[in-house]
Every structure is written in C-alpha cells, then in structure tokens.
Symmetry: C2
Subunit: 209 residues, 2 copies
Amino acid sequence: MESGEEGRSARKRRAILEAATTVFLDTGYQGSSVDQIAAQAAVSKQTVYKHFADKQQLFTRIILDTADQVDGLVDTVSRTHADTNDLAADLGELANQFVATLMQPRVLRLRRLVIANADRFPETTRKWYEQGFERVLGTLSSRFEHLADRGLLRLDDPLLAAHHFVGLLLWIPVNQVMFCGDDARSTDADLARYADAAVRTFLAAYGTS
Amino acid sequence: MESGEEGRSARKRRAILEAATTVFLDTGYQGSSVDQIAAQAAVSKQTVYKHFADKQQLFTRIILDTADQVDGLVDTVSRTHADTNDLAADLGELANQFVATLMQPRVLRLRRLVIANADRFPETTRKWYEQGFERVLGTLSSRFEHLADRGLLRLDDPLLAAHHFVGLLLWIPVNQVMFCGDDARSTDADLARYADAAVRTFLAAYGTS
C-alpha cells in the first residue's frame, strides 16, 4: 500500500512539473498562476502546494531539471572522434547535431523563459547556465584540446575556441527566433548552410591543414 | 497659446514614453501597469490614455523608437575606414566600440525585454530586429565588401561574414548577461579580451595577409 501511495504521489509530482513547464513556456512566469498549473495537471491547488511551496519553487525545479537534460548533447560532443581522419566532416556532423538539438522549438522557448526571468531569479538561471551551457562548452573545449594535441587544431585557449565554434554556429538562427518569435525559425536548409559556414570559418581560423 | 499647448502635450508624451521605458525595463511588460507608468510620469492615467490607446501601444512605440537609436552604431560602422592601412587595428577599434555600445546595461535590459515579449508581439519585435540589428549588420556587410574589393578580406558572402564578426564578438558576454542577469556583466578587461580574440579569429578566417 505504502509504495502504491508513494507511486501515486510521485506520479502527481511529475504531472505537476510537466503541467507547470507547459504553462510557463506558454504564458511566461508572470503570466502563469498556480491555479492554471493545477488545472493543467488535473489536480487540486492544494495538491500542488503539498509538493511545492509556491510558484517560484516550481520554476526553480523546472529550470534546474532541464539543465540536466543537456546530458545528451554532452555525450554527442564527447563522441567527437579524437581519432578523426576527416576533421571537417566530423565537425560538420557535430555542428548539425548541435543545431538540431538547440533549435528545437521547446529548447528555444525554454531559452526565452530563462532569459526573461534572469533578473528576477539570477541564482536559478545562473545554475542553469553553469550546469547546462557551460558543461557543454567545457566538454567541447576538452575535445578541442585533444585535437590540438594531435596537431589538428591550433589554439591557445580551448574554451574560447569552443565559445567561438558555438557562437559562429548559433548567433544567426538563435537571435532570429529570440527577437522575432518562434515562427521565425530558420528552414532546415538555412540551418545546414549556417552549420557548414561555421565549420569552414572555424577551421580557417583554428585548423592546421 | 496653441504652440504652448502643443509644447506641453509633446512634453507630457515624452515623459510618458520615458516613464514607460523605465517601468517596462524594471518589471517587464506583464509586470507593468498603466497606473505605474502614470505615477512614474507624474501624470494622470487619463493623460496616458489621451496619448496612447493602451499598454501594448506604449510598448510598440518604445520598442520601435529604440530601433532607431542604433543610428550611432551604424555611423560608427560606416566610418570603418575603407582606406585602412592597418585592418587589424581598425577592426579592433570597431570591435571595442561595438562592445561598448551593446554591453551598456540599458541596451542589455532592452534586449531582454524584446526577447521576453517576442512571442507575444512578434510583429513589433520583428520590426525592431529589422530596423535595428539587421541595419547594423547590413552596414557592416557593405564595409566588408569594400575591404574585399581592396583585397583585404576574402569572402563569398559579406552578410554572413558580418554575422560571424558580431557573433564571435558578442556570443560570450551577451549570453552571460542574458542567462545570469544584469550583474553578470563581464569586466572591461574581459570585454577587451573577447574583442581582441574575435578580431584575431575573424582575420585568421577572412583575412588575406
């Protein structure tokens, strides 16, 4: 019985987090209420408060949970072959996977939610930046270091090079969506073109061949 | 008398716009009310409504007015010497001016306000993007084209190169503030280092010497 209770409670908690994510992404933090979240989760407001002290705690939980979801991207980056024989092709593949992951509509809406609330809850969003964004960059940076050790890249500052790689890749399409709204997402053909151009520019600057 | 009336009315309109900008930047669009804006402008709510139909119209006006404020940056970019004899130094100067303009706390808070509301008012924020961001990039792009004509840069796509220049320059410090809040602004020394690294990487990829 008790484990059944626990199971139900855990399921409700998950349903509330899922509902809160949907509501926050749809209407922003300030535009959302615990009432809406309870309705979306099909639970009572009391049940929400049994699991979470308030709306802010829900926001914090969701933002920090999504920071962990970059694990997949970290794995992808880690697999970038240190033993590559075709760096341009391998970086091109990585660039396309990066773009495919970060240009997902839900990821972009989460990015907007974080930015919109960074001045309200800087401690939470800073953790998200460190545990998500910076972890990916750190992994990419150590891959670049290996490639430099093999003589395939020439760089003094691997972390700066990692930032440059990602900036070349994402500055255009991410800004377009951030400034012009979700419907301004680049076509897949444009995204592939940006990825190709980013890799070419990166290798022209940091490559050795 | 009539021009006195007009003068007073125009002054009040300006005061309301100034007050609305402050209130929106401080508490976001959803967190702001016309009551707050009227109080901040030291006018009655009725006076606000005499000039602006509603809160949304105020937001639209402010966002579009600030798009025009990039004129200064466009001028700076335009002055990038097509007849330069030291491209690295001139691009370095441009990079530092770019960073100094775009990393101003008020500009960064405006950027956050635009991003936070891009899904609510995409028509307004898209115009801001086109009249501000894209105009600067277009000017930079035509400067790069001149430099390519003179054999100082090698590029197929000047607009893409302009995006790469700005992305290399701003990706790191802008994201830090966007994700971690206004207090996460890089030190001036770090900004100078990012500018220097961006110019070096850009010239390694696009330079001819």
